[in-house]
């Protein structure tokens, strides 16, 4: 069975500090990977997606970057956090386009920027 693990579970960071969030998928080779951001009770905003190692596409510009150093790993980072970065970050994977385009979400990382 496939599993998706996100770390850390929660972070409290200061404005201007760096950030690195991680996501690992086990049990599925070459998945499509996604990062989503969600304000408390808000909608899901796609940030990045990746269909293969080393290839990441940005969907919105939020002073964040993402990398896929391994087939099963997706990293979200920034060198300088803003207050607006607070929220819930969800990593997700899918098999690909068409009928298999359902997303499987991790449990997320709650980020508070103070």
């Amino acid at each position: 069975a496939q599993t998706i693990h996100q770390w850390p579970v929660a972070e409290i960071k200061a404005v201007g500090s760096p950030l690195s969030l991680g996501c690992t998928i086990k049990g599925k080779s070459s998945p499509n990977l996604y990062w989503y951001w969600q304000a408390t009770g808000g909608t899901l905003q796609q940030l990045f997606y990746s269909i293969t190692v080393g290839q990441v596409e940005s969907v919105v510009q939020l002073n964040l970057s993402a990398s896929r150093p391994k087939d099963d790993q997706f990293i979200l980072s920034t060198e300088k956090l803003l207050l607006s970065h607070s929220g819930f970050y969800l990593c997700a994977w899918s098999l690909g386009p068409g009928d298999n385009e359902r997303l499987f979400f991790g449990h997320g990382t709650k980020l508070s920027v103070l």
Binding site: N32, I51, F105
Partner: protein, 113 residues
């Protein structure tokens, strides 16, 4: 670009009553629609999906029918339960692109005893 519109922000119902959450979409491609449910402090999970016109799809008592003529994929349930309290998101995928899902604003359903 693609967009998904959900009109209800907050819905409060008494247990046993029916519910309908609206979802309309805009796309120039062949649509693939989803409903995701997110319970408090949990990750979103797929509830329903469809790309077939005029075919009802059902899961866990919820059902929806994709109507391409009206660009709609409304979510319904005939009798809500306390455990149905959650955030419900409608999402649209351009079939074949594999890269982007557009989510609606979400509808928060609260079911009271």
């Amino acid at each position: 670009g693609d967009s998904v519109t959900q009109t209800e922000g907050l819905v409060t119902l008494t247990k046993g009553l029916p519910v309908m959450l609206n979802c309309t979409y805009q796309t120039t491609y062949s649509p693939f629609l989803f409903w995701y449910v997110q319970h408090l402090n949990e990750a979103p999970k797929l509830l329903l999906k469809s790309s077939t016109d005029n075919k009802r799809t059902e899961h866990q008592g919820f059902y929806a029918t994709l109507h391409k003529s009206s660009s709609s994929f409304h979510l319904q349930k005939s009798s809500v339960q306390l455990s149905d309290s959650a955030l419900y998101f409608c999402a649209l995928s351009e079939q074949g692109t594999g890269s982007k899902l557009s989510f609606g604003k979400g509808a928060k359903l609260t079911v009271s005893p």
